[in-house]
Amino acid sequence: MKLTVINVKHRQYRKWLLVLLVLLIPVICVHAQTNTITGKVFDNGIPLPGVNVFIKNSTSGTQTDFDGNFVLNNVPINSVLVFSYIGFEPQEVTIGTQTSLSITMKEDSQSLEEVIVVGYGAQRKSDLTGAISSISADEIVRAPVVSTTQALQGRAPGVSVIANSGQPGAAPLIRIRGTGTINNTAPYVIIDGVPGDLNNINPSDVKSIEVLKDASATAIYGSNGANGVILVTTKAGRVGKLKININSSIGTRNQIRELDVLNSQEYAGLINEGLTNSGEPARFTNAEAAALPTFEWGTLNLQTGFFQNQQVSLSGGTEKVNYFVSYGYVNEEGTLRDSNFDRHNLRINNEYKVNDNIKFGHRITYSITDQNTRRSFGAFLESQSAINGWAWEPYLPFFDQNGGFTAPVNRTAIHPLAEVRFDTNNDIRRNFGLNAYVNVDFLKDFNFVSTYAPGFGTREAYDFDLPTGTTFAENGGVVQNQRRLQTRSDRFTGYTWSNVLTYAKEIGRHNITALIGHEQQESESFISTTTTVDIPDIINDPDISSGTTSAAGSRTPLAVLSYFSRVSYNFADRYLLTGTMRWDGASVFGENERFGRFPAISAAWNVHNEKFLENSSFINQLKLRGGYGEVGNRNIGTFGYLPRLQAGPTSGFDVVFDGARSGGAAARQIANQSLKWERAVSTNFGIDISFLNDFSITVDYFDKDTDGAILPILPLTQTSGLSDTTNFNIAEINNKGWEFSVSYKKRFGDFGIRATGYMDMIDNEVTSLDRDSGFIASGTAAILEDFARTEAGFPISYFYGLQTNGIYQNAAEVAAGPTNPGDQTNPNIVNQPGDIRYVDQNGDNVIDGDDRVQIGSPHPDFTYSINLDFDYKQFDLSLFFQGVEGNDIFTALPYFFEAELSSNFTRSALGRWTGPGTSNTLPRLTVDNTKNVRTSDRYVYDGSYLRLKTVQLGYNFPKEVIDRLHVDKLRVYFSGQNLITWDNYDIGLDPEIGTTFFEDATGPNNRTLGLDRGVYPQPRTLLFGINLTL
């Protein structure tokens, strides 16, 4: 009785949801009949609706209903019932006298072979000829992360995902097959056939992700293919009853490491020592030092961040309509106070079948993200919230007698709490997208798909801050008149329209698929930015009318027109050949360079389908692949080809007459009207082997040459009167490497295991850099500058500086060594015992810029990941390890925490040189440390690490329980992220370092890789989640 009540309630609930749903989706119902044989059809324990059930050799039959039930009339005794459903093996059951059946369908071995989404179509995995990695929904949701990009980390060889910051909502750096350009290396992201943003997509909505890596696979995307292409397919409803999926998790985030800084007595000791070494009086007497209290500044702005991720989706469908509706809410707090992120995602994917040949559908998405960030942008301590606090003098109390913020001693710094209170950096983005399509099958072999996808997005940023260098007045207050408000408002509108006509024909053992297509995109972005200064103290939360405001902005249209074609030929599933061609025209180039042609060809041989292997009990699959293609990169700004005349107030050419502005106009650069795409030419060879049913191995070798990489080139001479750079297609970059993936899958009764491992080794080299100076210097950290170089014959952005060779232990060693001017304006400073011995590379007995050499590389020798999944009865456990090996980090932390007397030290500084034999790595402490802090390998650390990225332990409630609860599935899980890290980077907070945002640029830049100026570290996450299917 009780059960019935629950049942009724449960049904009412479902009906109520259905009513809601009907508001969104027209549902066309299917009626079931009633008769003598009844039964239920399952797939893996879950009722399977829409299964065809018919009596063999007759015309009478039916379909299973929403709950997998069927009822069939007039079934003769001893007749055979046939169950069929797309994607499953047909099953025949001989009926005796039974009237009730329970059938479990088995997946079709043919369809077990995954269907892989390729550009503008899909192929069976066995038909692939290019290098494509596929990532399933299962793998994506298993990582307890909120962004789809993060979820890709370690999931495919050759795909590198590195967190740029532990800031909630921060977009990671993603690269496919190395750094192919000095410019934008972001892969092209296609969501359900149209370009999109991977960071906007809710991981729970993803059905699968394919990563197209080599040019033969990406050439169908032509000018967008050079950085690789990521294809995201979102979920769709399946025929069947309404299925409600709820995934809810909550958890906490904590900082993994803290810096081990000195207590006040140790600090006073080092300060006194440094002052004494410099001939200055000590600051603290022994008695004073002993009496100093110690305050823990470093943790002042830390917190335990709360995390929640709530996902609900409704899906189902009938013969005529299917639907998938989802809503997701994520709220993440960072490990630094007042840094957080939240996101709402809504998605409605519907498809309507007009008849057997025509269907149309739409995918509607809306997302809102709201991010509050802490400082993480500048060269110095005070602009890096993650480490700022640790550097504070440990004996200072947090507040002065009046309750004001304590001021630092003899330096400028921002109080960690003042920064939390006065520094606001808020960024809100909203994105709406529609993807509407019609799909027509006709003339038996033809298919036509037209997709129209308009979208718009907005971004509003409000950044109210204390400028770097703000000092605090005596009363502990902030110098209010230095406050600055910066706002940014973006609006983006655009559409993509594509039309693809496909012809597929099987003639005997010849199988041919051909497509031609057209695509056009138009978009426009409006950006306006304002800066407000002179804000009166009385206004705590200013707007742009609160002071003196200047504005800037832009309106940037873009149009792209493309035609493409692909022909695939397959003979007897043995010999495969694919050719593609794309013509792209883009408005960003001059008239003569607008259209580019991007061809590719690839072939594969399914050796296992040859007679001599057909019956092999060892080899299940053996496939050889090879491909060649040319692709482009057009992420290079717009209208770069135009000969520009600078005019208007921001041109700098205005002058003053009679105290008023008078307009001027002139050119600052020569034009390069033949600016065109960066072009990558790549070859790929691969082999896929599976054997003994349980093992599979894929190995790929690739060689990718980026030709005509765009570089800004200064005018040939200043006497020409030109001052600004012009972009030319002149650099060449090569990436080559190996990718391996190995997997093992086996079931031993109740125990199942699945193990996969990925590894890639990529060798990056700039092969030509046609620039006068021969290199591009970049990088700023603390007082260190230009420590990264991009130069022919070296990897992009390698580390460059002086090489150290220990510490001078005594006067004799100093006398034997070269002079070290250190500071050109003070040439007379001489080395003393305890100073760093730099290597005099050119033997001229002077340490200067000419002695600089390569001191490291941010590029790893190899990256790897290991996935281990186990299940035993109701339990499942997965472990995911991810690592990089052989890369270096250039870190400013030794400068901040081992060299600077004005702020606190890490414990490692206690190992400094204090006399002969005391240290051969850390120099003596001095006030003027110029000589010992020169750009050198002192700042280069091993960046290798291995991380236990994810552990997840799940429990599936058994059938008895879920039946009683009237749910289809109930799983609870515990998950942890970044639980254990093995690394040698003990000076910093986190060895996982991506790119650094340049202060003057809008995005990550390949010219500063692997730089740690006090990165916001990755958090350790612990969470508990429930997965419920109704």
């Binding site: 027109l561 025209g585 009679d658």
Partner: protein
């Protein structure tokens, strides 16, 4: 039938999308295009082009790169100052003459002059063909000659002989084929251009108020005086000075103090000024102001001021003033306890009022530190008087003394107990009196360095590390030496 419709429909879609040319022509918003026919179409374009030619003067005198730094530092008039001895590498190297060819000051000075020359040449090549008001056309061409002369004069003064481009060349590569001219040739080109300018430019009084600040006949003559003084060609100094006096356009401002106030800008004694104003529109290149007041103002002592502390007067300059000379107080102000002040052990410092904001002048402190509205007084009548006096001190000592005394009379502000007229002097004594008056009257106006060189008093500079035969000129920027690949010889004494 049905099939036919499908196929037709699809072909239409594919073909309909083929009009590619129009589709791909998107509008480059905010971009003005510099192609033949798109610019220099009319009078307005001509004005835009000539205005832009003034821009490098504004850039030059907006901060460190102006003569306030390089003309004063390294002489007996001024310390470098700043936050510490190493603060600002370019200025530090000038202070002790360890100048290297890679510092920004050298590179900027060179590059900005040639930017101005490029734009002057564009005007000279394109404006004559424009159908426009003839008087305006003549004036604009005159301004272009004037500015081209000013930029080449700056190059000749600091670098010596340089490559001369009387016309713009078609490609940057062709510029590399033009060798360095001699210093004499460069000066000759400067004078030639000033004379071309002189024949075309209006007088100061002939300009509308809105054009105050443009080149004038007086400015062309004034620069001819200065150019000849720098070449030590005294007869020419005399001749052009007298031509300038004959214009009847200029007189000494009634008081010394008013020259350095906002109300004194472009006053009766002003021959040429670089014009600045506070754009009041926040940060960025939108500013039309000068950073001088901030760069050369005190770091400590006034929170609102928040200067950077560069260029502090030396004791030798303070000592040069006669007792109670009111010009000391109008030119310099004392601020104690700077972060770095080499004057004395207490880090006290004297800064110049000639570039200062309130309360030291009536110029307001700008909202953005680099956006001060102080004009830079490039050439004043008093300067011409004193150069004129130098040119005739032997031939006509009485007239020479008369011109010196005009300056002293104004300086004493009616208090006859001060600064008595000089009388009865001649020869070296008179010349020294002229030099003395020049140093005091034009203190910290960026002239001292070249005054000492052109009058061969280099020994005064040698105590600071100045090397005779080398430091008269700056090194050519290393980047340019590299660009020219051996075709551009470096100046004497500077290694590559």
């Amino acid at each position: 039938m049905k099939k036919g419709i499908y196929i037709l429909g699809m072909l239409l879609i594919l073909i309909g999308a083929c009009k590619s040319d129009e589709f791909l022509d998107t509008t480059p918003y905010g971009v003005a295009v510099d192609t033949p026919g798109a610019f220099f179409r009319n009078q307005d374009d001509a004005l835009l082009a000539i205005n832009a030619t003034y821009r490098n003067l504004r850039q030059r005198y907006a901060a460190f790169a102006g003569d306030y730094g390089y003309g004063n530092i390294g002489t007996d008039d001024a310390w470098k100052g700043g936050g510490n001895p190493a603060d600002n590498e370019s200025l530090a190297q000038k202070e002790n003459y360890t100048i290297t060819p890679t510092i920004g000051e050298i590179t900027d000075r060179w590059g900005q002059s040639y930017q101005g020359i490029l734009n002057a040449n564009k005007v000279l090549e394109n404006v004559p063909g424009i159908d426009m008001d003839e008087a305006l056309k003549t004036r604009i061409i005159g301004e272009a000659y004037f500015l081209r002369a000013v930029y080449y004069m700056d190059l000749a003064k600091w670098f010596g002989g340089v490559p001369i481009y009387p016309k713009n060349l078609a490609t940057p590569a062709e510029y590399l084929d033009v060798p360095r001219s001699t210093e004499e040739e460069t000066w000759a080109f400067v004078e030639e251009n000033l004379l071309e300018a002189l024949s075309r430019l209006p007088k100061k009084s002939e300009y509308e108020a809105a054009d105050i600040g443009r080149a004038t006949q007086g400015a062309a003559l004034g620069f001819l005086v200065r150019a000849n003084a720098l070449q030590n060609d005294l007869p020419q100094v005399k001749q052009y000075s007298e031509q300038l006096f004959d214009l009847g356009e200029y007189s000494l401002a009634p008081t010394y103090k008013e020259i350095w106030q906002s109300t004194g800008e472009n006053g009766p004694g002003s021959i040429f000024e670089v014009q600045f104003t506070e754009a009041g529109q926040g940060w960025g290149s939108i500013t039309l102001g000068s950073a001088s007041g901030t760069a050369f103002g005190p770091r400590q002592g006034n929170d609102n001021y928040a200067g950077w502390g560069f260029v502090q007067a030396r004791q030798e300059l303070l000592d040069e003033f006669e007792t109670d000379d009111p010009r000391l107080d109008h030119s310099l102000f004392f601020v104690p306890n700077q972060e770095y002040g080499p004057l004395d052990a207490d880090n006290n410092a004297y800064f110049g009022k000639k570039v200062a904001y309130a309360p030291f002048t009536d110029y307001p402190i700008p909202a953005v530190p680099t956006d001060g509205s102080n004009n830079w007084r490039v050439l004043r009548l008093a300067d011409i008087y004193l150069m004129y006096a130098e040119s005739i001190y032997q031939s006509d000592p009485n007239t020479a003394m008369e011109y010196v005394n005009r300056i002293r009379q104004r300086a004493r502000e009616g208090n006859n107990a001060l600064l008595p007229d000089i009388t009865g002097l001649s020869g070296q004594v008179l010349l020294d009196a002229i030099y003395h008056e020049r140093r005091v009257e034009l203190n910290l106006e960026g002239l001292r360095f070249h005054d000492l060189i052109r009058t061969n008093r280099k020994s005064i500079l040698e105590q600071y590390g100045f090397q005779v035969g080398k430091n008269e000129k700056m090194p050519i920027p290393q980047a340019e030496i590299d660009n020219y690949g051996g075709r551009l010889p470096q100046n004497e004494g500077y290694s590559n």
